[in-house]
Symmetry: D2
Subunit: 321 residues, 4 copies
């Protein structure tokens, strides 16, 4: 089942709760012989660090990553790369008030119902902090993709107007540039399907679209089709309504996709909810929280896109003997 | 890798090309001892049959399903259920004109580039006809879900206006009713992520959203949060902006999602494209094709949703000893 | 879970019961562009055909394989290769006497207990006939391996003396020749571990060993170690006590392994057993059955070895970018 | 691919090299709500500790396990249980002499050839020390099995006579007691096949057998069959030649199996070998090494058996709706 693993050839397993001893991951299948630049990994992590602008919470997380295995003299060895990030600023006592109360639109209720037990501190396994290991693995994937001239970008294309004590949603656009033709597998491992899967695992993601996306539903075939042309060097498409994927397989154009994020549920207003016995209660979330997933979510979107792309590059090697 | 398999505990493997000998599937992990009603399977298949309204192509496909294994005296035995549907109306010669020419926004180009070979007749493995085995497996999943009072529905909520020779897109909404609390697994097998994955494997799907979806990006937290209440029997949410999933796990409310479909690329106009050598050419697609994926796609959306739901119901059994 | 699938990059899913409509398989991940010689597949199947010598049962099984997908103009296309073999000579009525009685050391009892239902005719899913799809997939794997000069052989190194009405066991030795260095993956996908797994899935297999095997337990390190030498061309070992695998990874020497098979449990004597209610009863197995798994099992041993080898050749491509 | 993961429902991923920063593991799918007794985990680890008798090396490994996630107030939460063991006594400089030289019958050569790079210190990923995380996961599995009255035992049934500077092999027998009927899945996930796979992943394992094993090859069916009887309470077998598994599925009798281990290759004699360029050289392995895998391997055999058994108990829950 491995619900905490993602990827086939390049596979990340993550672990950890927001306020436990540590969060971390194990990368199985990272190609051997790659010299890793750890400063690039730290750079990705620091993009996610709080306190960078005024939409983010003030909790201090140094987020130092320690590598435990799979590297030798700075190079990958082909064996699992394990790493961890200690949770230094974790005070479980801060969360006594949500021990028996379900925060609206958080994972408290569903985890409690599913398992009959939950680590409530900081949201436990449901916290967005548990996505950090993806940023680390994505940063490694990016470095390997860079050796193939493949680049991942993301930018915010819509964001709500910040309001007092409330939170806002956003839409992020991702672009994978210089994608080789032929990534993605038929039927159930289509590039777009796995990319959708990857993006929808990010906390607060509520929608995914590729190319024209939902807009395509309002188009006619004659408008939406991408005409093939020969540019003197290779076959390309004149337009890119498809977003770089046709029949589930990349066609060599930029992969362009968007992810919709709901507002973070931790608003600063008192909210009506129930406790674990079903009694009505009023909850006021303590501390300072993020107003919007942006910009923290940008490195996450890029990380997941990088892992998906690298995975398919490795899998493609098996298409021919 | 198993790119032609979907599901973990209830796992469907599909095979077949549009104009090969047959298409079909193997279901591994269907619970034992379930009495199957084959007429319900046929009913799902007939919902997908062409010629039901004037938006669909006229090709006659009887689509009779033959079961080969896994059933004994009408009941599932726990061993693999294999089935096939013969391709009776298949004339490869009809497709000589696309043998060396890439139809715009079809899978012709990407399959050719990926594998260096393709079965071009009727689109081969890329044809929407290859989704039929999902409808069969979904019909079986639906029957098992019905024993738990779980019901899957779908309806068209947006469709383009039909035009002469052109094709149109659509948006389909799916609803899973009476979902148990606790389906979905943490991290990478979130219910919404696997559902997105499932839906994006359907041909022509370009977008997926759950609950408020892309609309959530324009909302504030105070508007989008779902307050918990106790209805006298169980804890529920007052609203369902989340679409039945919180923290990746179902909360017992209806799962509500939407899938955007692009217009079918087979327009009846002459189109500019290139051949396999990159030479510019004009292509006029022959025969009568569907104008829109709707209504054929409705049983597909329901089938994939049924498989995902049943799979998670089985997986949930492993959460406790 | 996919308990009816074997392999990672080259993955076979099998289905079918001994006396159902058909048995068959789906190969997912066969490399594209390989021209298959169907006569070689039939030759492997015919090696397994009954009536070849006097140790085998007289049931006539034509075992004609029909390919349904994944081939185009004789070549593999990279999409799933599905095939089936109809069960033509199947009379369920012959097995009325074992409907409610458990044959000693067969799978009747365990299947009934596990699933609460079983297809009893001919042993159902537990019949050795259900291994035939492995022979087909193995024959395809062998052809692909042959393009790399890799050859699989097997021979009987021990067999019991045939006795009136009784059955006998045997030991089969397999050899994989010209294996590339570097097949197998660290930790849990060691070449020897996956090979053991593969061999132990064959009906009646009770033991597996590689290289010196059980004999190694009686050796000293100074006797059992394989000294490295340079043969002018490449590094090799002077001896091959390891059986071609060191640290779970092939070292370029022949892979040599042995599989022990118990006597077929269908003896022609009356046997004491119980029925489904636990009542003591005497069972006399009808018809003519095989005396020994040999020689039918030879193509099975080779087929599984071929699939394992090809799978690891494909997986090795992912070790480096 | 996940070659460093083992198990389906209860899945362990391991990482680490002998002389890296740490070794450890992540358990995904451990049932929720189980109170773990850490002293039992430490007891299993201490059984493997060196210096317990005079067949073992003198390296001091405190082997303290630190849990990082998945536990809350001493109970499992259903989320991944990550743990690590620091390599405190690791001096890479001790291994300079094997940096460019291949130790006979170790994994040095095969890792170097496969990946083009290797962490040579202490054997790196190929060291038996990397099996420790299995002991931890096995100790957890054992505790959960104990709640179902299932017990795992192992004992040495053959061991070579210790000699000056040389090493010896051994045979270990394992027994799983009070196994429920119905564990194991048809076709490729037979209980015996997965158990063989598990055992053959242990360093130095060269053979596996179940029940009569290789001895069955010399038996007649009338001797080897296990007659069914009713013992007043349930259906059992009069004998247990099958070793508790029939048709790949447990029949409720004790599972009895044996694993053959070769002598540890680190003999104290000078040995002939080659260096990385193929030049002949003499190698004298430094330090004090184990003479035999026994008794260190006993907790490993039990751990793997425990993981396999628990995994199949969880998977069996999915057999029926």
């Amino acid at each position: 089942m491995n619900s905490n693993s993602f990827g086939t050839a390049f596979c990340l397993t993550t672990f950890g709760e927001s306020h436990g001893a540590a969060i971390g991951g194990v990368i199985d299948g990272c190609p051997a012989g790659v010299l890793l630049d750890k400063s690039l990994i730290e750079r990705e992590l620091s993009r996610r660090k709080p306190g960078q602008d005024n939409t983010m919470s003030a909790r201090k997380e140094p987020d130092e990553v320690e590598f435990l295995s799979g590297l030798f003299e700075g190079k990958t060895t082909g064996t699992p790369i394990a790493f961890l990030i200690r949770n230094k600023d974790a005070k479980t006592s801060d969360y006594e008030n949500i021990k028996n109360v379900f925060r609206p639109s958080h994972a408290d209720f569903t985890y409690q119902m599913k398992y009959g037990i939950r680590d409530y501190a900081g949201g436990g396994r449901g916290s967005a902090r548990t996505l950090l290991p993806c940023v680390v693995a994505g940063a490694i994937a990016k470095q390997i993709l860079a050796t193939q001239d493949i680049e991942i970008q993301s930018n915010v294309i819509q964001i709500g107007e910040e309001r007092e004590k409330d939170t806002v949603g956003a839409i992020v656009q991702g672009t994978i540039k210089n994608v080789p033709v032929g990534l993605g597998e038929p039927a159930f491992q289509k590039f777009n399907a796995v990319l959708a899967h990857a993006m929808m695992t990010i906390n607060a993601a509520k929608g995914f679209e590729i190319g024209e996306g939902f807009n395509a539903a309002s188009m006619r075939g004659s408008e939406c089709n991408d005409e093939f042309i020969f540019d003197g060097e290779r076959i390309r498409t004149k337009t890119n309504h498809s977003g770089g994927v046709q029949g589930g397989i990349t066609n060599g154009e930029d992969v362009v996709f968007r992810v919709a994020f709901k507002p973070i549920p931790s608003v600063m207003f008192p909210q009506q909810t129930v406790d674990i016995q079903g009694n009505a209660t009023t909850l006021e979330i303590q501390g300072r929280h993020d107003v919007c997933v942006v910009p923290r979510v940008l490195p996450m979107v890029e990380a997941m896109a990088a892992m998906v792309t690298l995975d398919f590059i490795l899998l493609k090697k098996c298409n021919k003997i």
